[in-house]
């Protein structure tokens, strides 16, 4: 997949609002593979909704979303399952990890599905992000900042053309944010993928090609 195009897209909840000023809603923009984008937004402007639409999780919007000029409204369940395994990675703002599983199990449940990363690489990432002592800890016993790092590792355990990270560093200190940014850049470059990060304030430092104001 080489492009994601948002054509006059608008969440249904904003239908009655005429005063929307945005670089994305009601515009025609295209996100290209290999480029880095930052979407800056105030809370309540539909940042997480956008991620949900692109991931096929919600469809309460008007306008069109096109992958390589194909309207996603026509995709079926099996198309979406494939996209989620092979083309688009998403790190959710609310993480969507499984509290009953350990940190490592949370990552493996994805990696076993895709078989994409070696166990060694995953262990190395845990180490890089400073949570190597937490691999066998139940997720519900970890802080939100630690959970964010687990979620990032999980999102990297698949092939992707685009990776969306929704407020990835909201609970991280600067040094960990930097490590995360490097890891994200390295993995995206290796796969030639596009990166889209969102932020409501503190954003991850990357080499952005374009910055949108939502």
């Amino acid at each position: 997949m080489n492009s994601i195009r948002l054509k006059s897209t608008l969440p249904n909840v904003f239908l009655n609002r005429e005063d929307i000023v945005s670089d994305i809603w009601r515009k025609d923009i295209t996100l290209e593979k290999g480029k880095f984008y930052l979407i800056e937004a105030n809370s309540g402007t539909g940042k997480s909704s956008l991620c949900s639409y692109i991931f096929g999780y919600r469809n309460d919007y008007r306008g069109e979303i096109l992958f390589d000029e194909k309207n996603v409204a026509l995709f079926r369940q099996k198309d979406w399952s494939k996209i989620r395994r092979k083309h688009i990675a998403l790190m959710w703002q609310e993480l969507r990890l499984f509290p009953e599983l350990t940190a490592m199990e949370n990552v493996l449940i994805k990696n076993k599905l895709t078989g994409f990363q070696k166990k060694k690489t995953i262990v190395q990432w845990f180490d890089m992000l400073g949570i190597s002592d937490k691999t066998d800890t139940k997720l519900q016993l970890m802080s939100f900042g630690q959970q964010q790092r687990v979620a990032l590792i999980r999102s990297l355990c698949q092939p992707f053309d685009f990776i969306f990270v929704d407020e990835p560093i909201s609970h991280l200190d600067d040094s960990n944010a930097l490590i995360m940014g490097n890891l994200l850049t390295e993995e995206a470059k290796r796969q030639g993928a596009g990166v889209v990060t969102t932020s409501i304030g503190k954003h991850i430092e990357l080499d952005y090609n374009q910055i949108f104001k939502l």
């Binding site: 999780y57 099996k78 989620r84 092979k86 599983l101 199990e105 994805k110 599905l113």
Partner: protein, 399 residues
């Protein structure tokens, strides 16, 4: 899949599933037991008279003194037959065809004695006789005729004649192997045939030959004027129907009440087993309902986990599988246990039945197996489809 199962087994309620398990076990056992018991008991009934089905009734007109004196014919007219055919309880009507020629039969048992007697033949349409078709039939030119004799004849010989003359008793099996010599005469012809005893009937008080033979013989040996049917055989839906009794009395017909009683008993037995099986089916349906509710509750409680698995890229089929396997596994377990219990219970009641009816055969359990497997399949398919549609239902976040 191990991790997925670790996730999805959260919130499984053991008491709920145990409730389903035992309820379904009881329901399944009752159904299987009903089918098997019916089969076993039917076998006993059938072996009483394997040639005639139990829901047949034989009708004739009463022979009155006055009728005998004035020479009134006891035969059924066409109008009367039409009238019987029109009754609601009638499924099929067949006429007895009497023989219109002389029959003489003889047979001898090696070294003892020779029997010889005048007799007669009758026939009914072949569909009323429950003998395999290759054993029951006749083609012109054949010299062997299959014959069904009344069971009374055998009893008469064994318990009367043989006893008083110190002759050996004969079983139906031995007699089946003995050939009767039959001489038929009429219309200027005389011919010899071999008679093969195809069976004994306790419900038919006549000597029965295949319809095809009767037709041929009546044409060949008869000196003209066909005799009309004196007796009628009826297949009915329900021998216990009061309308049948009323009809018989209104028209001054006669039937063998003993046999009608046996038919009634059999009918009542069918109804009782039907009711018991319906209860079993009801329990099964209710238990199936419990299972579906538990699974729905489970899916509801684990909605977030299921949704997150789908968002990771697990297909709905993969996510559905653990719960599908769980329900199908439970069903198989229930069936297996019900089957074991069925075999045990059957041993107990068969021992009892055999003391009532010595020498009864043990019929196979194929029918019960078929019903059990069919139930298992239907319920499992329903489960699989229901789980899948529930998972598909949570594919998108409800807005």
């Amino acid at each position: 899949m191990k991790l997925v199962w670790k996730l999805l087994r959260q919130h499984i309620s053991i008491p709920q599933f145990a409730g389903f398990f035992f309820a379904n076990l009881i329901g399944m056992l009752i159904i299987l037991l009903g089918v098997q018991f019916y089969n076993d008991i039917q076998n006993v009934y059938d072996s009483e008279d394997s040639l005639m089905k139990s829901d047949y009734i034989i009708l004739n007109k009463k022979v009155g003194t006055l009728g005998s004196i004035i020479g009134k014919s006891g035969s059924f007219s066409e109008d009367e037959i039409d009238d019987i055919e029109d009754q609601d309880f009638t499924k099929k009507v067949g006429l007895f065809t009497p023989s219109n020629y002389n029959v003489r039969a003889s047979f001898d048992i090696e070294g003892f004695s020779k029997f010889s007697t005048e007799m007669f033949f009758e026939s009914v349409p072949d569909e009323f006789v429950d003998v395999k078709s290759e054993q029951w039939g006749y083609k012109e030119g054949e010299t062997t005729i299959p014959i069904v004799l009344p069971k009374n004849y055998l009893d008469l010989y064994n318990f009367g004649f043989a006893q008083s003359r110190s002759l050996p008793k004969l079983s139906a099996g031995i007699l089946g192997a003995i050939k009767l010599r039959i001489q038929i005469a009429g219309n200027g012809h005389v011919e010899n045939f071999d008679g093969r005893i195809a069976g004994f009937s306790s419900r038919l008080n006549t000597i029965l030959v295949p319809q095809a033979f009767m037709q041929w013989a009546n044409e060949h040996f008869s000196s003209g004027n066909d005799k009309e049917a004196q007796r009628i055989i009826l297949e009915v839906d329900n021998p216990a129907d009061e309308a049948i009794n009323a009809f018989i009395q209104d028209h001054n017909y006669e039937t063998d009440t003993d046999k009608l009683q046996a038919s009634k008993t059999n009918y009542v037995l069918k109804v009782i087993i039907g009711i018991v099986m319906s209860v079993g089916l009801l329990i099964s349906i209710l238990s199936f309902y419990i299972l579906m509710l538990s699974v729905y509750l489970l899916v509801q409680k684990n909605t977030t986990k299921l949704q997150n698995l789908l968002l990771l890229g697990y297909s709905p089929a993969k996510v559905s599988m653990p719960y599908q396997l769980l329900t199908v596994g439970l069903n198989v377990l229930v069936f297996a246990l019900a089957w074991v219990l069925l075999v045990v219970v059957r041993q107990i009641y068969l021992a009892m039945l055999e003391s009532f009816f010595p020498g009864m055969e043990r019929p196979s359990m194929m029918m019960a197996l078929g019903v059990g497997v069919a139930l298992l399949l239907i319920v499992s398919i329903f489960n699989v489809v229901a789980v899948r549609s529930k998972i598909t239902g949570i594919w998108r976040q409800k807005e």
